[in-house]
Each structure stands twice: as structure tokens, then as C-alpha cells.
Amino acid sequence: MCTVCGCTDGTPSTERATHDAESHARYYADMQDDFARRYHPHGHQGLQRSYHARDSHNHDHRFAHHQAHGGQALLSGGAGPAGLKVAGMSRERVIQIERDILGKNNGIAADNRALFVADDLLVFNLLSSPGAGKTTLLVRAVSELKRSRPVGVIEGDQQTSNDAERIRAAGVPSVQVNTGKSCHLDAAMIGEAYRRLPLLTGGILFIENVGNLICPAAFDLGEACKIVVLSITEGEDKPLKYPDMFAASSLMVINKIDLAPLLEFDLGKTIEYARRVNPKIDVLVVSARTGEGFGALYAWIDRQARHQRHVVEDTRR
């Protein structure tokens, strides 16, 4: 087992897919030892102790070490190559790049989106913290939606195919993506996983992202929209604590409402907080255990399907 990510060969993997051990070694496996050896020649051990930007050191630092300590070389009186440059005497040159850091992911996401539209497929990206009830919600939703249209699921988790198996038990095709140490799904993972699903023309694809309220917000997967699931056991102020996720989502599903009699939960405050970061966010209240509120959820999905159809028709005119 890989000691970095815990998966069998080391990289993020789609279920039954082969691992690319070489690229993993390049980007992950060597970096910890190498980082400690190269940038900490004065005896620090490992990554945890190396990040001590605020410590007061009095030993010699190479310029690279300053950079490892948070890029302080530029701020600390001109030490390092940037401070040594003399106009007209230097071989260095500055080139303008102006490229989006997430441009590659966004390009693949655009390809995914075009493929989904060509296949007449509505795609939702479900996000939440771990334990909010995404899989339970999905099992109920796909069991009922599959009666009227093709439905498929891509499951994202660090490890195990437990969730994909729960979806398959509901009679719906599902592919599990194990992200290894990665905290989110990216567009390339979805492109590969989608090729492993049967054709779902005219149907719905749900992507269940890794349980994490921070990182998945940054990555477009090519979905029609993001749906954030918040359970009432998590407290009212999650939208304020993790605003990026709620800002990126079109719908907030408040789950486990059947537990409301047992908890002091202020629904109005939760909605108000979510709309502070996203005034346009839709809100639905459900119980994945009892099925309460699922009629409204299906009506919302149907509205999204009609909206996508109109957009596609408009672009084809």
C-alpha cells in the first residue's frame, strides 16, 4: 500500500482503473523527504516542523529556505536572487504568463459539460461535510427517479467503494472514484468515471463529491449546478463558517429535518446566513430517512431539466 495516499498503488483512482505510479512518485511520494532534506539542512525533521515561518531563527538560511518559510525572501531586505539583480548586467528576463491556475481543470470541465449536453444529461454535483446524509439522500432519490428516466451516480471518497455499492443496491449504475489523499474530485476524474457508466441519455447524473465543505467548491466538474447538503445537526452557522461552498451552490438542501423536535435548530437563521453569502441560493428542507420534502426536490430537479433544455435550444438556434 502506498504510504502517501493509502491506496494500493498510490494515485487517485477510478474503481477498477489502473494507477499511474510514476506520476504519483513525481508529485507526492518523493516530496516530503526531499523537501526536508533540501530546504532544511540544519536539522529540522519533516514537514510538520518545517513550517515555522513565525519562529525566530538565528542560524544560516539559504534563500530557498526563506521561500519554504512562506516566501519571505522577497520581503526580507533583498536576500536571494531577486535582490542581486543589476539592470543591464543580468541574464534573467521576465515573461508575462497571465494564465488561470485552474485553467486546465476548467478546460476539462468545459469538455465534460459539452459531453453531458450532447448526451442530453442533467448533472448535479452534491457537496457537504461528512455525515450530512448525501448518500442516504441519493439512495432514496435515485430509487424513485429511476422509474421515469435513466439515472447514474459517480461516487467520490478517499477510500472504499461502500457508497457505490449502496447506490448499486438501489438498482442504479454507479462508479466509485477514490481520490487517495486528495480532498476533492476534479474534472479529469469525472471525465474518466463518466466513460465507465452506461449511456444515460435524457437522464440525470449525480456526482457525490468528497465530504468536505472547503476544497470541492473550487473545482468545476462540468455539472449543471452544485447542491450543498446541510444537516440540522451541524448548526445554523455553517454557511458563514464555509462561505465559498454556499456561494458556489445553486441549492441548499437542509437534511434530517425529522430530528428537529430533538434539537434546537433555527431554520430561519440558517437560511438567512446562507443568503448572506449567496442571495440567489434556493432552499429545500427534507428528511432522507422519512422522505419528507422529496416531492419539492423532484420538482426543483424538473425545473432545472427544463431550464437546461431551454438553454440548449437557444444555443442551437
Partner: protein
Amino acid sequence: MHEMAICLGIIQIIEEEARHRSFSRVRSVCLEMGALSHAAPEAIRFCFAVVATRTVAEGAVLNIVELPGFVWCMSCSKSVEIARRGECCPRCGSYQLQVTAGEQMRVKELEID
């Protein structure tokens, strides 16, 4: 820790540029990061040093230009600056805000040999 994935994206961009423009060493990298973007500059600085190892950007100095976040306040009908999502309009206290700038994460320029 998606900053690690973001830094891998930075290195991919630099290596593509190195292939196209035929350079073998980067001395410094300048990034632009908006206040309303998805990553923290401190975490980017830490991850970049790790991910740059054994690439053309090994040892490169990272310079991050932090750009302010701006929103359009629907109550004031004015553009106002906010430091982070979830803040209200500093003029009127409204949360009816639409982000107009400050979400970018870009590799702006490279200083190369």
C-alpha cells in the same frame, strides 16, 4: 488542502511554458490572488515549495500579489470592497451583494534564466 492541487496546477503551467519557450530555470514566480478566491496565500506559499521540488521552478521565489474583492451592492447600486465572503456592504449593511472582482487565481509572470 486543495492548495496542493492548486500548486500542481501552477507547476504544470510553468513546465508547459518552459517547453514552449525553452527555458530551464525559473528564478521567481508572480501570482495574482483575489481576496475572494478559493485559496489562502500562506498555504500556497507552503505548498509551492514542496511541489516545485525537482522541477524547473525548484528554489524559485514566490511573489503573491493579493488583489481586493469587490461586490456590486444591489441596495446602494454601487461597487464596494469587501475582504471576505459573508461580509455586508460597508455603506448600508446589506447582504444583497454580487461579486464583481477578486475571485482570480493567476500565474502573472515568471522571471527566468
